[in-house]
Each structure stands twice: as C-alpha cells, then as structure tokens.
Amino acid sequence: MDVDALKDNDVGEVMVSHRTRSSEECMMASNDKVTLTEALHNVNVLDDLHLPDQQPCIEALSLSIHYQTNFDTNFEDRAAYVTGVARYTEEATVHSELNKLLEEGKEYAVMIYTWRCCSRALPQVKSAAQENRTEIYQKIVEVMEPLVSKLRDFMHFQIKAVQTFCGEVRRLCHKEKRNDFVSEAYLLTLGKFISMFSELDELKNMKASVRNDYSAYNRATQCLKLSVDKNHMEDSHTLSMFLATQNKIRDELQKTLVAIEGYEDLLADIISICVNMYENKMYIEPNEKYMLVKVMALSLFMVDTPTNSIYKMDQKKRISISKIDRILKELEIVPLYGDMMVAPYQYIKKSVNFDSSKWPECESSKVSPQSNILAHLEPIRENHMSYISQLSRHSNEALTTMRGKLRSSTTLATSRSDAENKDLYELALRGLQLLSSWTQQVMELYTWKLLNATDIHSNPNCPKDAETYEKSTRYNYSSVEKFAIIEVIAMIKGLQLLMLRMESVFMDAIRRHIYAELQDFVQLVLRDPVRKAIKKKNDVTKVILVAVRETCVDWLRGVEPQGDPAMRGKKDPDEGFLIQVPRRNVGSSTTQLYLVRTMLESLVSDKHIGKRQLRKDLNVKDAQNIEAFHKMSFFWSYMLNLNDSLHASCNLSLLWFREYFLELTMGERIQFPIEMSMPWILTDHILETKDMMEYVLYPLDLYNDSAHYALTLFHQQFLYDEIEAEVNLCFDQFVYKLSDQAFDYYKQMAGNILLDKRFRLECAHNGVLIEFPKANRYETLLKQRNVQLLGRSIDLNKLVGQRINAALQKALEVAISRFEGEDITGIMELEGLIDCNKLTHKLLGQFLSLNDFDAMLREANHNVSAPYGRITLHMFFEISCDFLPNYCYNAATNRFVRTVHSFVEEVRREKPHHIPHRYIWGAKTLTSSFSSIYRQYAGFVGAPHFRVICRLLGYQGIAVVVDELLKMVNEQLRGPLTKYTATLINSMPKNCRLLRYDYGSPGVVAYYQAKLEELIQYPDLRTEVFQLFREVGNAILFCLLIEQALTQEEANDLKQSAAFQNVIPKPFIPRQDGQSQKEKLELVKSVMKKLEVKYQALQVVPVIGQLGNQQQSTKAQEGDLLTRERLCCGLSMFEVILRRIQSFLEDPIWHGPAPANGVMNVDECTEFHRLWSAIQFVYCVPVGENEYTVEQLFGEGLNWAGCALIVLLGQQMRFEALDFCYHIINVYRADQKDENVKGIQIKKMVNRIRKFQILNNQIFAVLNKYLKADDSGGVELVRNFDPKPQFIGSSDSFQTSFV
C-alpha cells in the first residue's frame, strides 16, 4: 500500500461513500457524513452480529475473501530516512536492486519448472518432399517464438545476475574494504543468489523438454532459412550451448568468482552466517531453512579450489566443517524446487579437495533423522496440545474482553498492558514456529521419500513394473507413516485456522508490542550508550547511535524532551530523568527496521567500521542489550506480516506438484493417476482403514494449497486445470466411498441392535464373535454442509444423503426380491429386513434428510400408484401355488407344515444372484446369523407368520388375498369338485343303511367296506379329490387364522390409540379410612375428569373438529366410530367369507334331490354329507406300515373342507347322526370286538375314527360359532314331525332338528 498517498489525510473525519448499516445502537443520523470514529465503531459492531455455523469444524481454513496487506516497500522510501547513516541507505539501494533480481529469477524458475514439452505435440515433417512442410515449419516457428524469446531472456538474465553478483563480491572483497562490516541481511541476500543460481541450473539440467523444444524450433528456422542475420545466428548458437551445457550457470559463476581475490573470505562469511542462522533457528518459512542448507553446501563447493582447500579454512577456524557435517546429515535431502530435490552433500563430494574422512556423519551409513517422522510424532502432539490450550485461553479472553469493551466504551484503544501484548506476541511467534516446524517435518519426510524410492525388497506390495513416481509415493509409505502425516497435516491446518481466526487480536498485540519495544529501546535503553559515547568522545559510535534513534523515534506529543542529561554526556539527576514513552498501534516500516537493525549490528559486529571495531567502544552491558534487541527484532518483519507468514509456513502444496517426475517419464505420462498422488493416497488411506475419519478433509485440503500456488506462484492455468480435474475425480470417489461406508456402518449398527442378545451370547460361547462395528464418527462428516474445495462450497451432507437414499431404496428392493425368491415363510425375514432398514433410516435420519421411510417402502414395493405391491402379489402367488396345495394343518400346534409328498409341480422361484451383504443385513456375519435365526421359522407356517402377514399386507393386501382366495375356492367348488362329487355320489350305493348292532362291529365294517367298494377303488379319490378338498380347507383355514392374527394386531393398535380416543385407564385410588363407597366413586370421577381435561389436546376428533375443515372433521368422526365399533361388536371377516362360500354351493349335486319322504333322507346316498361319510370311512381305514396317513399327506385342511361344506349345506346334524364311521364306533363301544376284517384292524380304525370325530366336533364348533353370531336371536328353529308308519328303522326314535 502506498503510504505517501495517505499522508494528506489526517486522522479525523473521512467520508465514507456509503452509509454503513449495522445493528442496534449505531444507527446514523440522516446526514451522510460519517466520522472515522463512527465508521470504526460500525466495523466493530460487526463482531456482535451472530453468525451461526452449525457444522463442526474439521476442515482447513478456506476463505472467500482473502485480505492481505503488504507494507513491504522494498526500500523505495529509503530516502525519507535522512537521519540514517548514508552508507546503509546506499546499501539499501543495492539491496533493493538485488531483491528485484531475485524476484526475476523466481519467475524464470517458475517458467522452467512448469515447462511442458511442446515439440512432442508438433506435427513432424516426414520427408523433404512433403508439400506443406514450409507451412508446418512456419507454424512451428510462430507457435514457438514466444517461448524461445522467453528462453533467450532467461539466458540474458542469468548472465546479468552472475555479473551483478560477482560485481558485488568484487566490491566487497576489495583490498581496502575486505575487513569492513557487511550486514547479516546483505550476506543473506548474497546467499539467496547462490541458491537461486543452483536452482536455475538444476532446473535447466533436468528439463530435457526445454532443450528438445528449442532444437525443434531451431530445426524449423534452419529449414526456413530465416536466420540470416549474423547476430541472430550467434545468439541462437549461444542459447543452444547454454541450454545444452550442464551446470552452465554454476560453472560460469565459479569461473568468475575464482578470478576475484579474497572471495573465499566473503563466502566463508556467508557460510558461517548460514550455519549460525540454522543453528539458532533464525528462520520462519521452511524454504528459508532449506535455502540455508543449500547455500552452505554450494558455497563450500565454490570455495574449494586447487589453491584454497576448505579443510585448511576449517583449520583456520574460518568455517566449521564438523558443524556443517552434522547439519548435512540432519537434512540429507532438501527440496530444490517443487518436487525436485537435492542432496546437498553431493556438492561437497564433487568439490576438488574432497576428503571423506572429514565428513564422518555424512559418510556414515545410518539413516538420516529426517526420514523418521514417527520419532517426532509424540513431541509434536505434546506441543500441539499445550499450544492449543494456551491459545484457547487467550482466544476466549480476547473474545470476551473485546465484546465487553465494545459495549462499555466507544474508544478504540484496548487497555491491554505491555506485558499482555508481549504474551500475545510470543504466543503468535511460537505458533508460527511450531507450524513451520511441523510443515518441515512433513516436507522433509516427503522429499526424503521422493529420493529414496522403495523397491520390491523393502515393500513386497510393490509390483515389479511399478513406475518411478509410484515407487516414491504410493508404495513408499507404511500405514503408520501415512497416519502420522495425516495427523501432522491436520494439526498444521487446524492450528493455522485457529491462528488466522485470532489474527486481528494477534496483529493488534504484535504492532503494539513492536512499537513499545522499539520506542522503549531507542528512547530509554539507548540513552546510556549515547551518554558514554559523548563522554568518551567516540564520535562514530555517537553518530550511529543518534542515527538509530532519530530514524525511528516517536516522541510523546512529537517533542523531544528538553535537557536530557544523557545527550550532554552527563549523569542523570538522583531522582532520575523521566521520559514518557508513548504507545501506538503500529509497527515499524520495513526500511526503518532494516536501517535500525543494520546500524545496530554494525555497532556490535566484530568487523571494522572505518578503521576500528566499534564494539570496543561499548561497555559489555550495552553491547548485550543491543545484541539482544537485534536478535529479537529479527522476527519482526515476519510478525508484522503474520497472515503472509502463516500461509507461507503452512504451505504443503509441494505434495501435489510433480513436474520433475512427469519430465522423467519422457512423455509417457501426461499426468499421473490419482493412486500415485499424495493427497489422494492420504485421503484414501483414511477411507480404506476407516481410522481417523474426522481428519479426512485435511488431506483433501492439500489440493486447495496446490491450486492456490498453481495460480498465484506458478501462474499456470493448465496446472490448475489438472488439479481441478484430479479433485473432481477424487471428490467423486470420496463421496462414493464415504456414503458407502456411512451406510454400511449404520446398517451394521442397526443389524447388531436388532440381533437377539442371547443368540449373540451363545455364539460368543461357541467362539463366534459377532461384533458391533468399530465406533466411528461419521456424524461430524455428515454434518458438513459447506466443505470448501477449490473455491467451491460443497454440501457434503446433501451429496451423501442422495447416495444413502439410493442405497436404502436398493436395500428395501433387495429385501423384497429376497422374499420373492423364497416361500411363504420368507415373510419373517422380510419383516426383519424392513425393520432393520427402518432402524438404519432412523439412525441416519438424525444427520441426513432422507425420504420418508413408508414412501420408500412403497416405492420398493411398487405400491405407490398400484393398489397392491410386490409383497402382496408374491404372497398371493405363494399361497395359491405352494401354501394351499402343499401345506398340512395341525390344530394341536396351530401350524401348517409342508406335506411329505406333493401332488403338484414344484414351484420355481427366481432367486436374486450375488447381492452384496451390505444391502441385506449389513455384513456377512450378520446375514448368516439372521439366516440361522429365521431358519427356525422356515419349517412351518403359524401364528408368527400370520401376524407378520397382517402387518406387511395391511387391510388392503389382506382384502386382495382373501378375495382371490374366494375366487379360487369358487372355481374349485363349481368346477372340478362338483364333477368329482357327482361321480363319487354315483359310485356310491343308492342306499346304505346304518346296520343293526347285532352284526357286531366286524360285520358293520365289512358291510360298509363292501358297500363302498366302488368308491374306495376310485383311482382319483386319494389323490386328486383329497388334494382339491385340502386346498379348499387350507383356504378356509388361512382366512380364519389371518382373521385371528388381525384381531391381535388390532387390539394392539387400539390399545395404542386409546390415548387419542379419550380412553383413559381408571387410576387406582386406595380407599381412605372412613371414606364411603360413594365418596370414593366421586373422587374417582373427579380424577377422571381432571385426566380428561389434561389429555384433551390428544383427542383426535375434537381437535380436528376445531382446527380442520368440515370434511376432515367428518372423516375423523367416521374413523373414530369405526375404531370403536370394531371393539364393541367384533365385526368378523371370517363369517362373511363363509357366507360367500355358501353362495358358491348352488349346484343341486351338493344338496341332492328332496327327500322322498318329505322329511329327510336316511339311507339314500344323495346328499353331500353321505359322500363325506364315505370319504371319512376311506381315510379312517388304518394304513400299512410304509404308507402315508391322510394327516401326513393332507393335514386337517381336508377335514376342514368337508366339515365346512357340511355346515354350510346345513347337513351337520344329519352327518353326525348318520355317519358310517360314527356308527362303527358306536357299535364297537357296545361289543368291543377287535378283529381283522379284510386287512382292517378294527381297534385301530376305531381309534382313528375317535380322533377324527373329536376333530370334526371342534371344527363344527368353530364354524358354528362364527355363523351363529349372525343369527337373529340365536333361537333354534325346531320342527317336529310325527313318525310315519312306513318309517322302518332301528328302535331309536328320531327327532331331528335342523337349521
């Protein structure tokens, strides 16, 4: 920022172009003039605006607006400091020129580093005869010209830089000046030059593509015969020589330097200062540290000539090789530029007088400490922890006191004391140093790994044909190392964010602290040395001291205190001489700081100023004071640019840049795949191991770093585009993996929650551990709504939500598909799966916005717009194709079991193939556990199944199934069963009496057997006919059981809905002593009233009546009525079903012709119950050893069908009275004769008949219960008939009643 431009404005009133609006109290009056105080106040109240951001902070800082000020004037304002010593002002002039050259050098370094080969893309001229070859050459020249001109500039620059550098060296090494003082900053700048030369040189060596491009251009120009100009020819020749010669710059430099007498001493000074700064950690940014090391090694290489050995210099104590040896081992490999690295020791090795014995550390085979990040991890953690806690204390303090102050006063000055400012300054400095040291750890490990690539021996996972870059990155890190890097990166990014958030507080304190230190020093501390200098008449010292003072002094109220005795070389009066030092919120300017530091340094330097060493003029204490100040103020320039320093010392962009390795592939690769890219390797490592999940956004932030530097440092759009492309790819992968994992995690969690505890325990006893997924914090990630990536704001929550929605949907579809591949018992697992998904939905729903679960289920069930879904359809399919024909009912267990022998074709179901476990139960162990649990339900169909069917099908589904069942029954009854009934009745004898007891049971059995011979022998009877009856019976049973289950479910629902229907359980109130029954009742009543009032808001009908419209209110009333009615009169579905079945029995064959006697048929076999008696006889005959009984084959469905038909035909009484088997049992009871009649063991048969009789009675009872419920009055109609004379029968008189 231009300071001069602002000079005209005094602090006071300024115009603010727009009226600032802010909250509450600071509303301006209507005038448009805003005073500075008001404006500043307006800014300050911005802090009061509450800006909530709900998401947990787990990513690095990313700013939409990055505001950075730079007050570095590069000595432009040096002329303003007229009071400074002229010599240093001149030095500043030179310095500023050198800085400009360094800047220019950086640009050329960028150019070479980011150079991508063009010549490979150029069309080749295949033969000299090619027609368009001139055109091609012209185009090539046209395209390449700007690039080549840049190269030419580069060459000229390099010549100029070397000349300037050597010129400076020559000036400083002049005989007269050789012992003169040269400032630290100046030496460092010279060092930077050396480092720049080596960078440019190595870059030029490495980039073969630059040479190739240039030769392509050269060929083209030669072919076009453009270069006729002699100058041009020469220039192009020099340029190709320059590009082709390795180490051209370095050699040139050395050649020129050697010619300068005494250059070794200067370089030795540079080396010492580098060693000194390295050892005292006088650097902030990692790159500065590496620069120091590079300069050391390179300068040694330059100094070492045949005439001047560095080892002799070591002996003379000019330099310390042992120190350098240690440093070079400590930092074996340093980044040279981007991903290019260099081993500084290699320079030494190439030096002329190299003596390996002098370099014990570097020659030793032990591994450099820089490769071992794990050893540093624990101290890093400790430092991080202690620093963060300190910082948070200050941050809280700053936050609360700042807010408080704003409210209490409008003055801008905070009343932080000097000590507090110092504290904050030191805190910030320490933070900066910590950040930088952590960044160094990561960078040093990374560079070391780049140069020390892995191989198949050290990493068995590394394939033989792995690429170089892959060997350096992908396979070169162990899991622990990756985690360590991630952790350190997270600490860097996290702390950087925290520090940047506190930047204003820090800056305020830093400026105040620096101002105070500086002014105290020049106004108070310097008085003593000045006094002494005046007293002893050391003019030079005095001049410098006064110059220091006047360069930066800021007297209170602008007036120097008069009569300061120190200025006259006198002692202070006894009461002391009071100087009040003012305080301001501003630091020193860059030039000011430079001048002051250089002048002070010259005072305490061992070198000479003019003819003498000034240090001798100072007493020890003063010299120490000055030295301390000099040392302390080293960091001021960094601290005044805190924002800049924070960014520079946390710059990890290096981890992505790979121009060097791309160049090495010689065009094989345009770019490396993401698997070899460090940021993705780290991100993916977290995703794969599922550890440190919350850190996952930090490695992704490396892309932000790289993209930022691609644009701001490299100024290359293509690099940015490549990063962007990689980020797009990586982010997709990231979201994909993250959502999969989150889904898996919560699904497994749900599965584990639902898994039976005892089952889990039993498994554990048997050594099978079913474990909950390892606790992981996906929620923090899922809460991220604005992840910042390459300037985009990404709603991670939404992206993951979308995918998880889809996954849940798929899981539900899979559940249904699995059911579709199973028989009716699969309904149990289906419900389990739906519950599991529901729980998953609930767990995930806390963080994500998911679709309504019922809606999802309906969609999966294809039930959104269709009246019934896949579950219902498959259910019906299973019932009709498998359940009805193949299952046998048993009343004792109230279950159906599969028949031992099926009479129908086996049902084929399509089983879904290869479904990943994540969509089923979440994990393999869970799927097998639940499968074995649900296998328990696979062998039968019983009450649990029916309850589940009710829940899953709902009223609508049940209605559909029952309706379809009735249709089937109708078809059976009217179709095949009518036919068979007719045939069978025909095959029966016309008359079949109940034999007299005199025949004895064997006689009766033999009689019926003979009479029914034809029917018994009927081939289809035991197969087709029984099967048909069984199907009808099973259908009836299904309806009965479903109704029972439905009732249970409804009771449950009603209980739960009671609260909303004003059904409140009566509270228990114990009777008090002396309380009458009436009183107690009154009390209960009043309590109930109170409760009713209390829960009034819950009652649906009145609430909807109040709040809803007429239609809603009516609906609510109707619904309520229906619910209540169901409870009261027990509407029954089963009865309706029976009536419907009854209506199917229209065919006369069921009833038979009207009795000839006008009353009833007794012996005639015309009615259905007669046929059923015959059938019953057939199945009551005991079977042989290896034959299946009818119960095994058909179950009780058969009996249910027969009995139901009999009841519905109104023939129950006749059946019970006239049944053949019942007759046999009656006769057997009388005579107890157990004989074998034609293979029938009577006792056995009677036993069977007994069982079936009981069963029939039960069935009749159940059916009658349902049917009678509807009969009005329930009074049986009885008609009495007089016995007719022709009635010939047993002695028993008949009195029949029928309905």
Binding site: L6, L51, S504
Partner: protein, 77 residues
C-alpha cells in the same frame, strides 16, 4: 536554537510518518475485520441456505410422492 529547530525539522516527517502509518493500520485493520465478517457471513449463509435447500428438496420429493399416490386414486375411481 537553530540546531534544535533543525533537529525538529528532520524529525517531523518521521513523527508524521508514525501517525500516518498508525492511521493506515487502523483502516487496514478495519478492512480486515470487514473481510473477516464477510467470510463468516458467507459460511453462515451457505450453511443456512444448504439447510433451506434441503428442506425444499424434501418437500418437493414429498409432493412428488403424494402426487403419485393421488394419481392412483384417480385411476381407481
């Protein structure tokens, strides 16, 4: 007298410079605060907009679903 006047004349620009630079710092600091505010405003807005967007999306999906359900009712009638 003249010496001290001279000294004052030399020092005045330096003194003035301190004052000016302090003024610049104050303004810079305020701009910094404004930019900080804008940044947190941005984050906060984005997060709130994301929440709003989510709610709207959910409503949309709900409406879609209900529409699909209603259409079924019509065809059955």
């Amino acid at each position: 007298m003249s010496a001290s006047q001279q000294a004052n004349a030399i020092q005045k620009p330096i003194q003035q410079d301190w004052a000016n630079r302090e003024y610049v710092e104050v303004i810079t600091c305020s701009i910094k605060k404004i930019s900080d505010f804008l940044n947190s405003f941005d984050t906060s807005c984005r997060s709130r907009l994301a929440t709003l967007n989510e709610k709207l999306t959910q409503l949309e999906r709900r409406v879609e679903y209900i529409e699909a359900r209603i259409v079924k009712g019509q065809t059955l009638d």
